[in-house]
Amino acid sequence: MKYAVIKKDDLTKWLEHLKKKAKLYAPKKKENLFVFRPVKDVNDVCLEYIPTILPPKKYYFPQKEKLLRFSIQPFKTAKAISEFEEFILFAVHTCDIAGIQCMDVVFRDGPEDPNYLNRKEKMTIIGIECLKYCDDKANCTSMANHVPRGGYDLMMVDIGERYILHINSEKGERLVKGVAYIKEASEKDIAHLERVREEKKKIFKEELKAPLREVYEAFDENFHSKVWEDVGNRCVACGNCTAVCPTCYCFDVLDDMDLSLNEGLRYRIWNSCQMDDFAKVSGGEDFRKGRDLRQRHRYYRKFKYPVDKFNRYFCTGCGRCTRTCMAGISLIETVNSLLKENAAKENSIVP
């Protein structure tokens, strides 16, 4: 079975079923926004949502993760987590799945990170395809993440009365197999899916003013640019953009002592390259002094460096950095300004 279908009315039943299989996380409304939360009441699960405040990153790369248990006297160290829990991420957008794929590449790259990989092994991803834009902040089409491109176990697509499920792994198959109300998809269902995809092409248009290759070139050519000064002038260095980014993974290491002051835990906690001491050494030299340099660094870590290293853009197009920015810095506008500046520069070169 490659495709299955489930009636929308049966969805809560299936969620109850999934809840029994493993720890289940799904999007839920929080005031006027959305968040991923452990599912308590399946009726709270929200399938139509704009990207959650934080990406599901918090479950496979926790904000504060135990690395090590230690004691000073006698000197002893031990693994802080002996067993990782099975969990299911439900209704993940394709942009966030792309984010998971980026993180996989980073943490698999040697030396491998066992904490991440152990968690990842216990993770099942059930995606959901967006059929309309969440809002005007997203640039998923330019990043080619508006359609599923692997990285999930099951992918749900709304085809009217029912969801069609693309089964992409054995793990995924196990979650639909033997469930009475999930049936194999008919040819009609698959035709319906194709119609939905055709319809989608009319809605989703590239948001950046040039194809990705040109975006890359604009980055390559404009390391020194007024665009970065402008962004730096507005940035307040709060670090929101990096916290909400599904592909930001920089961290700090922190020791936490218990009351005995002899035993404690070593954690890794999310850190942001936007903080002013991020690249400062103890001698006082700061290698990215200034908000303009630090913002530039963030953009280059999405559109340039990972492309060179992993042949992969680390912007997923989710639009979170734009949505969260207190200073109103928009990723689409920034990239478009850079493209504009690059075009102007090229035109000014008289042969």
């Binding site: 690395l67 090590l68 230690f70 004691s71 000073i72 000197f75 160290t77 693994k79 980073v106 943490f107 790259d109 030396p111 491998e112 990170d113 066992p114 390391f223 020194h224 993974y249 920089c250 961290f251 700090d252 290491v253 922190l254 020791d255 002592m257 002051l261 404690g264 070593r266 890794r268 850190n271 390259c273 991020f278 690249a279 400062k280 050494v281 103890s282 001698g283 030299e285 290698f287 990215r288 340099l293 660094h297 280059y300 340039k304 460096y305 990972p306 060179d308 290293k309």
Partner: protein, 288 residues
Amino acid sequence: MIDREILLEKMKTSPYRPMKAKIVEMRMFTDKEKFFRFELEDNINLTHQPGQFVMVSMFGYGEAPISICSSPTDKGYLDLTVRNVGTFTDKLHQLDEGDVVGIRGPFGKGFPIDNMFGYDIVIVAGGLGIVPLRSLIRYIMYNRNDFGNIQILLGCKTPKDLLFGNETKEWQRRAEIKFNCTVDRADPDWKGNVGLITSLIPGVDLNPARTYGVVVGPPIMYKFVIAELLKKHIPDHQIILSLERRMRCGLGKCGHCQIEGVYVCQSGPVFDYSQIKDFKGECHEKAG
């Protein structure tokens, strides 16, 4: 070799878990710099390359990257020299012989010693730069006949700031290496050169095609020393330097040490000049 396999296995299964390292010897070099000798758990040898670094842990205080200043040919112990600059290093300075810290590593790429076989070597050390270079110097002296002429140029602020006092005297005495030292400001007892380290380079007699220039010092020093070495026509890839950056993991993940797209903890800290000269802005050590 077995030691190396044990270390690689440790790195693979629990990269964040430090080994136990006991302080067996220590002494103050200056008011701020202290020398430590450690023995690692199970008497393991670090089997590092000169120029690599370790992450030193003191539980409750955290971790810091520190250059190794002993040579892999020094068996049974590991030397570090640490300047007291903050909370972590201050605590480290307060430890006593017999106290224990954690060590992870070795990390990064060291000096390209295999490529340097048979070449003449000019070592330029400024201030604390002598610390990682001591590892290289000891390695070279142990394998002396693998290398051509060796010249060491050492610069520091005042005679009081000179590190490895007894060893530098020995380097000065030995016939098989040329050793030159300069201070920015002399005191009445100082009989040597006075002036910046760059002032020593024009006087060095070298054959550029056959020479490696190895430079370690504060960021500002690189610019001027590299410019002098380039004036001597040493090829870019034979100018070797080691860069200091903030580091938290040593595994090419935490992001602090990044220069543009490069993680210094994995691709460095040792680079040759051809690798850094195209950096566009975040490498303050670049000449010009």
